[in-house]
């Protein structure tokens, strides 16, 4: 679980190696924020440059990922937000570019999910990705976004509800083979 690289018994990594190790996660977060591969890679490059220039401000023993995500997010909101999401860039849109994972039973199509995710308000999308996929805690997400933990929780909750609505997942029978569960729920209702 340690994302700070300080696993006892493992060789100490250089600052450069620690940054390299986080590049895949930086890209995933950047794409999730900006909605475009091209913007995401520019954003990651800016983040790496800033991180290198401000290496002194990284506190040893804390999460390198959380620190880098904070830099990336601040860079996005100060420099990229306008040019990113307001310009329609179909070729650069990650939903059209990335591979599509094989469908698991009861799973949502990845392209459909990405369309729904990209239509969420940014403040909801970022916390959902931070706590639901990037491996960071609610506390770290709160710190990255500069809000209270309770705010993160309510944004995550709203994001999930909105996604379920966009994806038509209002009925348990839509997402799995276990249709009997619905009958149980409905049978318990009173009128």
């Amino acid at each position: 679980m340690a994302s700070d690289g300080s696993v006892p018994g493992e060789p100490v990594l250089s600052f450069r190696e620690l940054l390299v190790a986080e590049i895949p996660n930086l890209r995933a977060f950047a794409v999730s924020l900006s909605g475009s591969m091209q913007n995401a890679d520019d954003l990651v490059q800016d983040t790496l440059l800033k991180a290198w220039g401000h290496a002194d401000s990284f506190a040893e023993g804390t999460s390198m990922r959380a620190w880098l995500f904070t830099i990336l997010r601040n860079t996005y909101y100060s420099l990229y937000r306008k040019r990113g999401r307001e310009i329609q860039d179909p070729d650069g849109h990650y939903a059209g570019r990335m591979s599509v994972a094989p469908a698991q039973e009861g799973a949502v199509n990845l392209a459909d999910f990405r369309n729904a995710l990209s239509s969420l308000p940014e403040e909801q999308r970022e916390v959902l990705v931070l706590v639901g996929a990037s491996g960071l805690s609610y506390e770290e997400a709160a710190e990255i976004c500069g809000v209270a933990v309770g705010t993160v929780k309510s944004r995550v909750n709203r994001a999930r509800n909105r996604l379920a609505e966009l994806l038509g997942m209002t009925d348990v029978s839509d997402i799995g083979p276990d249709k009997n569960a619905v009958a149980v729920v409905l049978g318990g209702g009173s009128s």
């Binding site: 890209r27 995933a28 290198w52 999910f113």
Partner: protein
């Protein structure tokens, strides 16, 4: 007979702003969680462009040269 509109999962947006406890069906939450991980992991698995490795190698080399 139960009318579909009476399903207990129906929640109005204004309620959600206050009700952190207004949670989805656990199965829907799990399905969303899996999709979110699939989205993210697919991106994490993408090959890292050389430009980043080159950039960091150059920054490190520059720093080491200054140190001498």
């Amino acid at each position: 007979m139960t009318h579909p509109n009476e399903m207990p999962v129906k929640v109005e947006p204004e309620d959600l702003a206050h009700a952190v406890e207004a949670t989805l069906d656990p199965k829907i939450q799990e399905a969303l969680g899996r999709s979110l991980k699939a989205h993210y992991d697919d991106l994490v698995k993408a090959p890292v462009p050389d430009r980043f490795l080159v950039l960091l190698a150059e920054l490190e080399a520059k720093e080491q040269n200054h140190g001498k």
